[in-house]
Symmetry: C2
Subunit: 417 residues, 2 copies
């Protein structure tokens, strides 16, 4: 084993990059407004391109506007499969400073530290900034899916609402030819592995006081629309026994959903976050409720079982129905990479926790191409994410970048005799 201790990530440098990047799209009191390919995002990308070049990376932008920085071996072939890391610059509307941003800044710092270590790495390393991970245009993880020809027919021509730009429009604005989007496609054989550092976006690591989460997989996701119909009526003149109150029925569903999810154990979560009451007037009995249910589980069978239970609950509520909006299969991280991250942690005496990711990431795309993939989580304060208060400790960020650098190098050495 080569001397991995020579690789030394610098917390101050990483911290400065994160703070500099957070200025792009910052709106006081409203967090970060850096939706994909907005002016703020384009400016941030330009800034980051310069940082990558400063770090000695060869930078290019592909047909899907992914930014790719490559560090080729000093000796040996430069066209071999690479070990890549990456994440995204774009934010949700009124988002935080670290979702995505941490992954690309940690990746940059890791590559700098690897170069500075003087260790001879015989394999190309890549840092990728993926386009529109958050799906501000239509669907998320656009850039990583474009990289493997996984776009859906017509999705670049769709937008999230009237007057909002499509990806095709925003790519055209950058001078890209969307007809040639397939030029972004790469062969899976170009990758030996993919690693992503990300904030946890949940409260688990912080509540355990553990700086590193080793992700075992990304959960299965199911989203459902539940519509409950009742009968409007005057709040003062309709006796209780003649009512069919959609909100009262919906309340029963909410309670039952919560119980169904909790009783299914810790491997599933369920949330009703979107909820509308019609007509929503103080003196009118609600005639209709629409709610969206989000279920996520590490086990597909658990998700299906809970979904079926909820379907029954809805079925037995009068005049209510449930339809599937979206399902997304989960993915498993590569056991060898999880092991490698674990060894990196042990070598530096860093405590870690294996865990599942309840949120989707670009790292989801790589396992579908049989590319060994791993994710490193660091805590985010109070579990808050996708909001102006999203925050981290910079020492955790440095630990994350260090584990990334150590793991990339250990994997690069693995293939060597």
């Amino acid at each position: 084993m080569r001397d991995i201790a020579k690789i030394q990530v610098q917390e101050g440098r990483l911290r400065q990059d994160l703070l500099d990047l957070a200025r792009f799209g910052e709106v006081p009191g409203r967090g970060i407004m850096r939706t994909a390919l907005s002016d703020a995002d384009l400016a941030a990308r330009q800034w980051f391109k310069e940082r990558m070049k400063e770090a000695g990376l060869e930078v290019h932008e592909d047909a899907a506007a992914n930014l790719i920085g490559r560090m080729n071996p000093v000796v040996g072939p430069t066209d071999g499969p690479c070990i890549a890391t990456g994440s995204h610059i774009d934010s949700v509307a009124q988002g935080g400073r670290f979702d995505g941003a941490l992954g690309i800044c940690a990746g940059l710092e890791a590559l700098r530290a690897i170069r500075e270590s003087g260790l001879l790495i015989l394999c190309p390393l890549e840092l990728i900034v993926f386009t529109d991970e958050e799906g501000s245009h239509f669907a998320g993880t656009f850039g990583s899916r474009a990289m493997f020809n996984l776009l859906q027919e017509g999705e670049m021509e769709r937008s999230r609402g009237t007057g909002l730009p499509t990806l095709a429009q925003d790519l055209n604005r950058m001078g890209k030819d969307v007809e040639k989007i397939s030029q972004a496609a790469r062969s899976p054989s170009e990758f030996r592995a993919f690693l992503e550092v990300h904030i946890e976006q949940g409260p688990v690591l912080e509540s355990m006081g553990t700086p590193i989460g080793i992700v075992e997989g990304i959960v299965h996701l199911g989203r459902y629309l539940i519509r409950v119909e009742g009968k409007t009526g005057h709040a003062g003149t309709t006796p209780m026994h003649l009512r069919d109150d959609a909100l009262v029925k919906a309340a029963g569903i909410i309670t039952a959903v919560n119980e169904a999810v909790r009783s299914a154990g810790p491997e599933i979560v369920g949330t009703i976050g979107e909820f509308q009451v019609h007509p929503g007037v103080i003196n009118i009995i609600p005639g209709e409720v629409e709610m969206a249910l989000d279920l996520r589980s590490i086990k597909k069978t658990t998700l299906e079982a809970v979904k079926n239970t909820i379907q029954e609950i809805v079925h037995y509520t009068g005049n209510a129905r449930m339809e599937t909006i979206l399902t997304k299969g989960g993915v498993r991280m590569d056991p060898g990479i999880m092991e490698a991250i674990e060894i990196s942690c042990r070598q530096r005496g860093i405590s870690f926790q294996r865990m599942w990711s309840g949120a989707g990431h670009d790292a989801m795309t790589f396992p579908t191409q049989n590319i060994p993939t791993g994710m490193i989580f660091i805590p985010c304060l109070a579990g808050e994410s996708h909001c102006p208060d999203e925050d981290i400790r910079f020492e955790d960020a440095a630990i994350g970048a260090q584990m990334l650098a150590d793991t990339m190098v250990s994997m690069a050495f693995k293939g060597e005799k």
Copy 2:
């Protein structure tokens, strides 16, 4: 007893008036848009003023824009206390054709029928169109409250939202001097009785197949804001046991409120009609819910008891509180008038039902001045009101107008030797 059978209301004439009035402010598919003192309301008032004059009434408009049509006795003093009826022309936004409109058209038809009967009525009769019963500007029953000096300080300067006109502005637009609003005030001694015909706005009469409801009183009203706080979090990454979901807590409150109201018996109704979830995003655990509770009861003690129970429920829900938005005392109709209406029904073989009004009306104002008051309800189809589908049977409207005419005359005769 004089020959009340000579009084003969004409259903066809009443029907035509109702259909003509429904053209003012009619928006296809969206019902009646005739909010108080809007252009549509002003045009409808002008039209109705002409109808009153045609019927031989002396018409004037008071300082609060109430339209008053008076039929003085052919012989005898014209300055004695009157028997009055009335309701309103204004509608809620996207309202129906009969709420208010029925009362003034039925009043007009009743006075026409009384005049045509040739019966010698020695007491003045009045038909009043009250201004802004629906409270489109700020508070409801404006015109009847102005008539007895019951306006609240500053209420004419308030509006329901930025950019919406105040009553003061709309009265100025009509050339009224709002400084002289007190000129609308009349002495209670000017009234022997007040009667209002109205659609029930609920499903009771229709479900019983009964054309006439004799109102015993208008319920006590309490309105409360319930605010439940939780903690937002990512729907995928926050384990169930670390959640504080405001919507799940709110669902418990909705269910408990519904049970508390139902178990208190038929003399109370309770509704949560306004309900907002924040931030209301599919993948974020709800951090706050705001809901408005409307309680109405024929007994003040019942209303208080249920309110206290709900207050306890809210209190024992973590991070939830309840505050009073509004309370309004109920009123009782005059037993003598209820009896008179009942006799009118029996004389013509009309079935009737004594009942409470769950909604407020201008008729609420008169009992506060110790003026004997009564209300006559007719069924509305499917209990629907304040909506485009609000509907009636015209034969029921004619029965209502007939009972009004008969009762006004029987009361006019009552004082005579």
